[in-house]
Symmetry: C2
Subunit: 259 residues, 2 copies
């Protein structure tokens, strides 16, 4: 059975850590989980496309490690990053129901992803209500994040927009235990940020300088530090409600990053 290797990690998790973790799988992966899953996962080099608009992949891809971005392009080349995918996110839950991808997914860093066959998904969702629930949760939260991005692009100034983006990423990383105190890895280039914020990289550069000048962030060598997340949130009009962190699965994350 070729697909066994795909099922295994779930089984493994289940016996080791109980069904609570199975439910949380679709939400966020703790580093323990990441290590296990990485054994059956595929490696994608940085800056390579994982899936392209129009495709209808056979497998659903679960991010195990690394950063990816979802993006859409216009015929004349204009490019918009519409979301960032972090470990624990599904890259393409859509194609599980819809016919084709309406956007592409590109690797920002070197990636490891687990391929899950559709039949496995069927099996998982139908036999495990908690997993199905978790998938719903992921989809609805992604939807909420996308709405916030709409607000971000439509109403916030360039300065607020970049601040908001940084705060969101930091908080998302923190909930999956990928921060170290007030620091985290930050592999995005200013060009990535520009494409996500609907700005030019030149202007992003200037806004980052202002944020630094205001003591809200420091960012160098792919490393982000946010000395006072509260201040950054205030400056970028950040209301965390849209991340829906008060979800029942949250207590799992609480112990990941106490700081």
């Amino acid at each position: 059975m070729q697909s066994l290797s795909v099922v295994k990690p779930f089984k493994l998790l289940e016996s080791k850590a109980g069904s609570k973790v199975v439910a949380a799988l679709a939400l966020r992966l703790e580093s323990f989980t990441r290590q296990r899953l990485s054994r059956v996962s595929r490696i994608i080099p940085a800056r390579r496309d994982l899936i392209r608009e129009g495709e209808n992949p056979k497998y659903v891809h679960l991010m195990v490690d690394g950063w990816a971005c979802r993006y859409k392009t216009l015929p004349d080349g204009r490019r918009q990053v519409v979301a960032f995918a972090l470990p624990g996110d599904f890259c393409d839950l859509n194609v599980y129901v819809l016919k084709a991808m309406d956007h592409s997914v590109g690797a920002v860093t070197r990636l490891s992803v687990a391929d899950i066959a559709r039949e496995e998904m069927d099996e998982l969702t139908s036999s495990r209500p908690r997993v199905a629930q978790a998938l719903w949760w992921e989809s609805l939260v992604n939807n909420a994040i996308q709405r916030e991005w709409t607000l971000n692009l439509g109403q916030r100034t360039a300065y607020e927009r970049i601040g908001h983006l940084l705060a969101e990423i930091y908080l998302r990383l923190r909930t999956i235990g990928m921060t170290q105190g007030d620091c985290c890895d930050f592999p995005l280039t200013q060009i990535d940020l520009a494409d996500a914020a609907g700005l030019t990289s030149v202007h992003v550069n200037r806004m980052l300088q202002e944020l630094r000048r205001d003591g809200l962030i420091s960012l160098e060598r792919k490393r982000l530090r946010i000395p006072d997340i509260g201040k950054l949130m205030e400056a970028s009009l950040f209301n965390p409600n849209y991340l829906h962190l008060e979800h029942e699965g949250r207590e799992l994350d609480a112990r990941l990053e106490p700081a």
Copy 2:
């Protein structure tokens, strides 16, 4: 049993038109369905809020007739419309899984909505896989639309943005049989459009004039005409793939508006 009046419309639909329509319910309502449902639905006056950010309503609201908009606001009053809800859409599928609304929903026109208790939803989704599937479909398509709005706000010019918005609304209306040839009702004010496009109403006004001058639209007295949807789509860089109209449920719509 208080909730009986809520169940009834589904039962009614089921016996009259078969389970195909039940499955399509969550997708799009044909006018037949709308008429039936309107008997058990509640009326909301135009320009009144249906749900506010932070609330956790007991019922899920299904749009039966009229237009609504989802919007988010910033503390200083800036307002962004993040989506339009049309008949057949759920207003707040999110609160069925998540804890609280992260945005508000306001009535654009007089509205009629059907209140569905959570228990009814549970029952429907667990006993009827096709309904569950339909809910997935709705959620994922909304997600796709939200991504397209992100692209719209981030990359398109004001002119393209307004054109895109009009084209999208027209096409969505057409799939639910609410167009008449190349015309449709259009109750949005230029202020609504501005809040949706991240522009000022003054600038929206000028873009509408340009679109009219270019023969792409005519819009007066809450009535929109698009003489050549193909031309409008071209001018606004509109790629309809994100609406996922090739879904299996689509054939239901096909007969609604042959034109």
